[in-house]
């Protein structure tokens, strides 16, 4: 089994606060890795360092064996790495369809060919399939801002999949989503995973969601990995319980 993402000895601090303190892990091809941990344990900072939004103080990130530390997010995205953010990040004034085309268009041709080519960058059919897959067809021409929170969350995830990525990092996909929508979201993620053999890394607080979705879980506390294992073992791990309930 090949390693898709390899993080070694990553450090990131903001002034005196050490957010990520020597984190190392690997993600294998086709895995769904969950990352859990209390608020402020450095999960999102870790994501931002992996994805080029932040520059780590030290350490290294490799994707498919290639060193990507310090690469810009847009270049990483074109390598097949995509993400969602903790807070909802769709483009409210663009239609659902335009949001999706936008998420895939930069992978089509060159800057110049996109200017002279078709308005949908040749993504019309891919977009149709994607809105169908995420059950947003009836809303395809609505502005994204008019959708309910849960629907926007689905769109947000759909956008991360538009370019057919091989590695997707999802930052709290279940946050603020109601139970019905949550089931739908999980089911869609699992379906996509089965269909495309993509690799996911998921930050999540909602334990049920993590247990149902992930194949392996990392636990982060105060910038370090304190436990790692199968979802059910993690739930019973005393160190993890201490980290969540302690202090």
């Amino acid at each position: 089994m090949s390693v898709v993402l390899e993080v070694s000895n990553l450090h990131k601090s903001f002034g005196g606060i050490v957010a990520v303190n020597g984190v190392s892990f690997e993600v294998n091809d086709g895995e769904i890795l969950g990352i859990i941990g209390p608020n402020g344990s450095g999960k999102s900072t870790l994501f931002n360092c992996v994805l080029g939004q932040l520059l780590p103080n030290s350490g290294e990130v490799r994707i498919d064996g290639r060193r990507t530390t310090g690469m810009r997010p847009c270049d990483l995205n074109r390598l097949g790495v995509s993400r969602t953010f903790q807070l909802l990040q769709v483009f409210p004034q663009l239609s659902v369809r335009d949001n999706l085309i936008l998420a895939g268009q930069e992978h089509q041709g060159s800057m110049f060919s996109r200017l002279i080519g078709s308005a949908d960058a040749g993504l019309g059919r891919v977009t149709d399939r994607m809105v169908e897959f995420f059950r947003l067809s009836h809303l395809a021409d609505e502005p994204a801002g008019a959708l309910s929170y849960g629907q926007q969350k689905l769109l947000d995830v759909a956008m991360a999949f538009m370019a057919g990525p091989r590695l997707v990092l999802l930052d709290e996909p279940a946050g603020g989503v109601n139970l019905t929508m949550l089931g739908q979201l999980r089911e869609r993620l699992q379906a996509y995973h089965a269909e495309r053999k993509a690799t996911f890394v998921v930050i999540e607080h909602q334990m049920e969601f993590v247990m149902a979705l992930c194949t392996r879980v990392l636990v982060l506390a105060e910038g370090r990995i304190i436990a790692e294992g199968a979802p059910n073992d993690i739930r019973r791990n005393p160190v993890v319980i201490e980290a969540y309930l302690g202090h």
Partner: protein, 325 residues
């Protein structure tokens, strides 16, 4: 595009073609000024309205374009060459001016561009060997093409209007292409755009460069239209006026600058009957407009149209209920 707005565009175009036949030379001068300034406002609408980058430098680019054409045509170069050179120069300078926008946003960026406008004004005023300083440049010739002279007011209007049509067709094409979507993404959420593979740096510079190029091309027509240019015309006042056109017309609406430029060119003339008070009335109107409809005239029309169609639907629903059992 709805059938109503398509019909409105056709009617407006027909009006723009017919109207010079019914106007005196000064009236034709005014609508020519509208066509010329609409090009610059369209450029600013691209930079500000679509890509969300505040710029108070558009007037300076009109100045750079105007001086380029004035100097080159007086030196004997053909107008077509001077026109392309003005656009190319402003594209390059606009690209460079875009670099600060990669670091600062909003009112900080406004100050950077404001400083640029002042810089251009000072160069135009002080570098007398090149620009003739405060005396300006006189007798700028109007071009002729294959024996068709644009010297008369009507023919120069049609030349300006034709250029406006061609440039807006090009801009429309660009905005409906993936680039247009990328510009809006830049305005709405640059961080998310970056994570979706958009090279936001390149798109920001491009938005500045193309917007500035349109400013320069507008200036390239402005010089032969007024036939006399001096540095004062391209000071901050012009930049503010262009900004006003974009905001009053409807920032981020394709036809916003067309409407805004019409208001900004015609209203002061109509308000002349109020004599000394016209600036006060004009300023008052703008303030009321901004307070009650920040999305501009086209935004207002859109709101009214939506309300009308909702009222229509409600009325139909009521009558349908009346027919039912």
């Amino acid at each position: 595009m709805s059938r109503v707005s398509a019909a409105a565009i056709v009617a407006a175009a027909a009006f723009a073609i017919a109207v010079p036949f019914f106007l005196k030379p000064f009236g034709i001068f005014l609508i020519s000024m509208w066509a010329v300034l609409t090009i610059a406002a369209m450029g600013l609408n691209l930079t500000l309205g679509y890509a969300g980058q505040v710029s108070l430098a558009q007037g300076a680019f009109v100045g750079v374009g105007a001086y380029s054409v004035a100097l080159l045509t007086q030196a004997g170069y053909p107008f077509a060459l001077a026109f392309v050179a003005a656009g190319g120069l402003c594209f390059a300078v606009g690209w460079i001016l875009g670099y600060p926008a990669l670091r600062v946003q909003h009112h900080y960026l406004a100050f950077v561009t404001l400083a640029f406008t002042t810089l251009v004004f000072l160069v135009l005023r002080n570098e007398q060997w090149l620009t003739n300083g405060i005396y300006g440049i006189n007798d700028i010739p109007r071009p002729s093409f294959f024996g068709w002279s644009t010297r008369g007011p009507q023919s120069f209007y049609f030349f300006s209007f034709g250029t406006l049509v061609v440039l807006s067709a090009g801009t429309w094409w660009m905005l409906r292409s993936p680039w247009g979507r990328a510009f809006v993404a830049l305005r709405e959420n640059p961080i998310r755009a970056l994570s979706l593979g958009l090279d936001t740096r390149r798109y920001t510079l491009m938005a500045f460069a193309i917007g500035s190029m349109l400013g320069g091309l507008s200036g390239a027509l402005y010089a032969p239209l007024v036939q006399f240019i001096e540095p004062g015309s391209f000071a901050l006042g012009m930049s503010f006026n262009l900004l006003l056109m974009v905001i009053v017309g409807g920032s981020g609406y394709f036809f916003g600058p067309f409407v805004g430029a019409l208001v900004a060119v015609l209203l002061p003339e109509w308000l002349r009957i109020t004599q000394g008070y016209y600036l006060i009335v004009y300023a008052g109107l703008v303030m009321v407009m901004m307070a009650f409809c920040p999305s501009g005239i086209l935004g207002l029309i859109g709101r009214v149209a939506k309300a009308v169609s909702r009222a229509g639907r409600a009325a139909r629903a009521v009558s349908a209920e009346g027919i039912g059992p």
